[in-house]
Amino acid sequence: MRPITRVISSIALIAVPAGVLAHGAEELGHHWDVPAYRAEMRLQIVLMIAVCLVAIAARWVLGACRRRRARQ
């Protein structure tokens, strides 16, 4: 890609979401006072821990099955 094309693409890449985010930021100025923010963060942390635990358990179970099959 030519340098001038890259520069114009970079400006567009930054300018396009600028309108979206600037508008959004105006409406959500004090997000620390919005209970949905805290609740969502807590829920996501719990979900991430849950997914990790499920993945570890699944891996352990699959490994045990593989080891049993190898012994047989």
């Binding site: 520069v7 930054i14 979401p17 930021a25 997000h31 949905a36 990790c52």
Partner: protein, 255 residues
């Protein structure tokens, strides 16, 4: 651990030489510098606009760098086969992915630091003092950018650089308007299936607006310390989770 730092150092050297890094940094510095031309406003308003514009620039610039560098690191190594001599060494694929991420993050942090320095000089020129909240606002902007870089790195482990760039960019936009827009979509949706899909997207996307304390910096609003700690822990957990997903997939991927 040393394997991670060696890969990180190599990634930093590689990224800092890329044209996109220099172009984006210079572009943002130019925008920050040009914010001094807003002399049509009164000084008080001018300072507020300057802070708003500069913080937005730092955020966009940092996010653009994170996407541009994070989405291309791993696929470029795989495509150019420079990855082979590296993973033939006693390092795990996880160490490689984390090392690439840290290298990208350090490069982005350097860009953010340069923009912050320019911003700080401008603010001092106007106010003859620094805002006490500036450091915290910048730190959380960097944390937001770190989340974006983690998403870019993880997605790039799955798909080509072009697709990774687009998907990360869309995730970044969606993550910023998540609570208001996607939350509204969930409330308004009629069918159970669409509600489930929107909910899945809603809970998977990072809540990027949580990291934005621009208004606090501009209007000198007080943010509770407990909230800051919660956001910090949330950001670090999200980064760790996303990297674990990426590293797990890359560990079994054939190169």
């Amino acid at each position: 651990m040393s394997g991670i730092w060696i890969i990180a150092k190599m990634s930093l050297l590689e990224n800092s030489r890329k044209q996109v890094f220099h172009v984006l940094c210079l572009l943002m510095l130019a925008v920050i510098g040009s914010s001094t031309l807003l002399t049509i406003f009164t000084e008080g308003v001018q300072i507020k606009i300057l802070k708003d514009l500069c913080m937005t620039c730092i955020l966009f610039g940092g996010a653009a760098l994170a996407i541009a560098l994070g989405a291309t690191g791993i696929p470029n190594d795989v495509e150019s086969r420079t990855i082979h001599p590296l993973i033939a060494r006693p390092i795990t694929r996880t160490q490689y992915v984390v090392g690439k991420y840290i290298g990208t993050l350090i490069t982005v942090a350097l860009g953010v630091a340069a923009m912050t320095a320019a911003f700080a000089v401008l603010i001092y020129g106007y106010q003859h003092s620094f805002d006490s909240f500036l450091g915290i606002a910048i730190l959380f902007t960097l944390l937001e950018v770190a989340v974006v870089a983690a998403i870019a790195t993880t997605i790039s482990a799955f798909v080509s650089p072009a697709i990774a760039t687009v998907v990360t960019f869309m995730a970044y936009l969606a993550g910023t308007i998540k609570i208001g827009y996607i939350g509204g979509l969930i409330e308004r949706s009629q069918s159970g299936v669409s509600k489930a899909i929107y909910s899945l997207i809603y809970h998977a996307l990072p809540n990027l607006e949580s990291f934005n304390f621009k208004t606090s910096l501009v209007h000198h609003d007080v943010v509770p310390a407990s909230y800051l700690w919660q956001v910090a822990i949330y950001g670090l957990c999200y980064i760790a989770f996303v990297l674990v997903v990426g590293a797990s997939y890359f560990s079994s991927r054939e190169v």
